[in-house]
């Protein structure tokens, strides 16, 4: 799957690699919407919360991502009046989006598992005495 639309997202703060930010945008947005329906500003706030402020996007770039997910049918947008009286576009995850989220989750877990084993190997090299016998 392409992640072209997200390339412009710039990780602020910890300076996370652009490609990584772009790749993680889809599962993050889908997961946040799987929690509850939401709108742009609130999604960004939630991303910031979830990453402890380390993953911050340049705000505007979220919207092309949302529109791409909407075009792919993973989420559906709807204009509604908010409590403040302004019109807001609320997004909700679709059934297809939930399936996609499950797929993404498996992929990320696989990547995560691979990375985790490699980290522990590296850690073992640095301190071989800590390794259990037979390794």
């Amino acid at each position: 799957m392409t992640y072209i639309a997200v390339l412009g997202i710039v990780a602020q703060g910890m300076d996370i690699n652009k490609d990584l930010v772009a790749a993680s945008a889809t599962p993050l947005v889908l997961a946040i919407l799987a929690e509850r329906d939401s709108y742009g500003y609130a999604i960004l706030k939630r991303v910031s919360e979830l990453s402890g402020g380390r993953l911050e996007w340049s705000d505007g770039m979220l919207y092309p991502v949302l529109h791409r997910l909407e075009r792919l049918g993973y989420i559906a947008g709807q204009w509604q009046k908010s409590e403040s009286g302004r019109r807001r576009k609320y997004y909700r995850i679709t059934t297809q989006g939930k399936k996609q989220l499950a797929v993404e989750r498996q992929q990320w877990q696989a990547v995560n598992a691979a990375l985790r084993s490699v980290w522990s190997l590296l850690a073992a090299q640095a301190a071989p005495h800590l390794l259990p016998q037979g390794c």
Binding site: I4, A5, G8, V10, Y39, G40, Y41, A42, S58, D59, G60, M61, Y63, P64, H67, R68, R71, W79, R86, R87, R88, K89
Partner: protein
């Protein structure tokens, strides 16, 4: 509202206008982004920032607008191609929601009108080509006029006033004892639609016929309608070819249906549909006629200049054949068209450019070529005598010659910086009725002058 909030509103409005300039960011997207900006400002102000600071930080966090608009363009590449939205987009005037219905009804009416004589046993074309030839305009132009009357809100009284010229012309042209297939008859059949087009123009300008700007709009409308009509006709040709081919495959002959129904009805209905499309696309899609003008002005200029140079170099005169005058009429008409549509799309306040000079060269070389041809003809006019065809061609030539000669003069003055460009524009719009009056003369005075020959 406090002063602070007012400044913020002003700043947001300016920001919004700036964002909206991005072609790929549509109206709702701007609203969505603005909502975000406001949320952010509120949150920041809640955290203790002043309104000004909150605005600046919020804008900064949205990120670079050029990068954003690039992303939007990537996601919505279709928006870079302006689409003609046929649904309502409130551009003032009539409620556009009922417009498609009105247009469709009128197009069907025009298509039906051409079949009405058949109710009285007169088949299209085959039986009475004369009847259809002289009345062709009346089958469709009143319906087009009706559409424009509706569109411009001229009311029933306006419509009736505009129908009077149609009725008068229809009466006269059908009462005239033309010889079937005679020269004056053919001339009348060709010139009548040109004369009646002025009535359509009156409806188009909403009866404000003194308004030069409205007349210029009518010129634009006519050019675009012509192009759309040609495009629709091409599509109709493809449709006909498929119809014939497909029905032939199952053993049916569709040619008769096409000749008797599809072609005449389509040709009439397409005028209405084309007009509607032109009205809808105003300001949405760039006009085509000026684009074609840009392409062909240099090419025609080149051909004309080379033609004149060759003529002088080889000192050959123009071979006076029967058709030569009509050929030069058409040349002048094309040059006039190029001039007209260059004028119609030009910013009247812009300074002269090299394209203006090119236009001037085009007009002047066309004039020289025409004068050479006229001189050759005048020398032998006594041999030829004044037949209806030749007189009509000569008259047309003079009408166009006068227009172009004065245009060349005005153009030259404009390039010298002595006259504003609007003088040329006014001259062209002022001249519009002349074409129709000349056409009227050909339709109604020629038969009398030449005894309906």
């Amino acid at each position: 509202m406090t002063e602070d909030a007012e400044t913020i509103e002003r700043q947001i409005a300016r920001w919004r206008a700036f964002v909206a300039r991005g072609k790929a960011i549509s109206g709702p997207d701007v609203e969505e982004l603005e909502g975000h900006l406001r949320d952010q400002i509120e949150a920041l102000a809640g955290a203790g920032l002043t309104a000004d600071e909150a605005f600046l930080v919020a804008v900064k966090r949205i990120g670079s607008l050029s990068a954003l608009s690039r992303e939007f363009a990537r996601e919505h590449s279709e928006r870079l191609w302006r689409q003609l939205m046929l649904e309502a987009h409130g551009s003032g005037g009539k409620s556009p929601r009922s417009e498609p219905l009105v247009v469709l009804a009128l197009a069907v009416a025009a298509a039906a009108a051409i079949k009405v004589p058949e109710l009285f046993g007169i088949r299209v074309v085959e039986d009475k080509p004369d009847l259809f030839a002289r009345n062709l305009g009346f089958f469709v132009l009143p319906f087009l006029t009706a559409y424009l009357v509706w569109k411009r809100d001229l009311g029933a009284a306006g419509f009736v006033r505009l129908l009077i010229p149609f009725a008068a012309a229809a009466l006269l042209v059908n009462l005239y004892p033309f010889q079937p297939g005679g020269h004056t008859f053919i001339l009348a059949a060709i010139h009548l639609p040109i004369a009646l087009w002025l009535v359509v123009g009156l409806a188009y300008v909403g009866l404000r016929w003194r308004d030069s700007a409205e007349r210029m709009n009518f010129i634009r409308f006519s050019g675009e309608l012509f192009i759309y009509y040609v495009l629709i006709a091409l599509g109709g040709g493809v449709l006909s070819a498929f119809t014939v081919g497909m029905f032939e495959a199952i053993g049916f002959q569709a040619e008769g249906f096409i000749a008797r129904w599809l072609l005449p009805c389509g040709a009439m209905g397409a005028v209405l549909i084309g007009s509607w499309l032109v009205e809808m696309k105003q300001g949405v899609i760039e006009n085509m006629a000026p684009v074609l003008t840009r392409i062909f002005t240099p090419l025609f200029t080149l051909v004309l200049v080379v033609f004149l140079a060759t003529m002088i170099w080889t000192s050959r005169g123009i071979d006076i054949q029967r058709e030569v005058l009509i050929g030069f009429d058409l040349l002048l008409a094309v040059v006039l068209g190029l001039l007209l549509y260059a004028v119609s799309s030009r910013d009247p306040l812009a300074a002269p450019t090299s394209f203006d000079l090119l236009q001037l060269v085009l007009v002047v070389s066309a004039l020289i070529a025409d004068v050479v041809a006229l001189a050759a003809i005048a020398a032998r006019i006594s041999d030829f005598g004044f037949t209806p065809n030749r007189t009509a061609a000569l008259g047309e030539n003079l009408v166009l010659l006068v227009n172009l000669a004065w245009s060349a003069w005005l153009y030259a003055r404009f390039i010298q910086g002595r006259k504003p460009f609007s003088a040329l524009e006014r001259w062209q719009t002022m001249y519009l009725p002349v074409y129709s009056f000349w056409a009227l003369v050909v339709v109604f005075a020629f038969p009398l002058a030449f005894a309906f020959a």
